[in-house]
């Protein structure tokens, strides 16, 4: 009796369509789970003692895809606010990799996510969300703005579209496999 979980992180700046992408490919409506943080976990000096600690709630949206009777893929969206980095560590731990969503109206908002996965050597791809209309940039311009390594795949997608989300996921898993082969 065994059941294997596979984890994929959906990251990107605030409002890039992370929950939309999770919803479009998930077999269940996205679920929300909460983590309660104290000031201490946010790295704020706490000099007041336990009774003075304030807590913040971070919401995490996630979905699931049953791959086979014994494998389930979980897709976790990163919290919208970049300051909750410690949650990212928990999400990225053991993940196959990440899809970094990019909103062409605010290219720079996805830069912290690209930087995060690059520094930790976690396989990731970028998915440029076309949901916002015609893209004013070429792939080269987007790669330049995000300082993307040429080996990092870039796909165009519409986060609302299931086929598009599937393609982004398949691209990510293939990329993760290709990296396995390089390392082996």
């Amino acid at each position: 009796m065994d059941r294997t979980s596979v984890k994929v992180v959906v990251a990107g700046g605030f409002g890039t369509g992370k929950t939309t992408l999770v919803a479009s490919v998930s077999e269940i409506p996205p679920l929300t789970t909460e983590e309660i943080l104290t000031e201490a976990s946010l790295g704020v000096d706490d000099t007041t003692g336990v009774e003075g600690k304030t807590t913040t709630t971070v919401a995490l949206d996630f979905g699931r895809i049953t791959i086979s009777p014994d494998v389930v893929l979980y897709l976790f969206g990163t919290p919208g606010q970049d300051r909750f980095w410690f949650m990212w560590d928990e999400l990225a731990q053991g993940a196959v990799g990440a899809i970094v969503l990019v909103d062409t109206r605010r290219l720079d908002s996805s830069f912290p996510a690209v930087d995060y996965f690059e520094r930790r050597g976690i396989p990731f791809i970028t998915a440029v969300n076309r949901f916002f209309g015609e893209c004013a940039y070429t792939e080269d311009e987007i790669r330049g703005a995000l300082e993307l390594d040429e080996r990092v795949p870039l796909v165009w997608c519409d986060a609302r579209d299931r086929e598009s989300g599937k393609l982004a996921l398949i691209t990510l898993v293939r990329h993760a496999m290709a990296r396995l082969r390089v390392r082996a």
Binding site: S5, L31, T33, E35, T57, F76, E90, G94
Partner: protein, 121 residues
């Protein structure tokens, strides 16, 4: 609190009836560090009569394989609490644990399976 005003909801704005830290004996991290948000668990057929209601609720949710994150979402438990409670239940033999993602991530066969599964969607 008079009986007329109590609406049966222990998790109102006033707070839970039982503080969460009491449920987990003040533990803040699971002993089994491989327990992840995505790790799935399933109930084992054992006598649950001695379980506290909050723990029993988790075991009931686990009649089929379910992840720690899903337990947290369905039972509205903060993740850290859900994780510790699941860990306690695993330790006491009420739940069995599936393979956490990170142990098989370098498994090419598993990734092949994932791609095939996604293509079938």
């Amino acid at each position: 609190m008079s009986s007329e005003t109590w609406d049966g909801d222990d998790e109102s704005a006033a707070g839970r009836f039982v503080p969460l830290y009491v449920l987990v004996n003040g533990r803040t991290a699971p002993r089994d560090s491989t327990l992840d948000l995505a790790t799935q668990v399933v109930a084992l057929t054992v006598d649950t009569r001695r379980l506290e209601p909050e723990y029993l609720e988790i075991v009931r949710r686990c009649s089929g394989w379910i992840s720690v994150a899903e337990i947290g979402a369905y039972l509205r438990l903060p993740l850290a609490i859900a994780k510790v409670m699941v860990d306690v239940l695993v330790e006491q033999g009420y739940l069995a644990v599936g393979t956490p993602a990170q142990q098989k991530i370098i498994d090419k066969h598993l990734l092949d399976q994932v791609i095939a599964g996604l293509e079938r969607l």
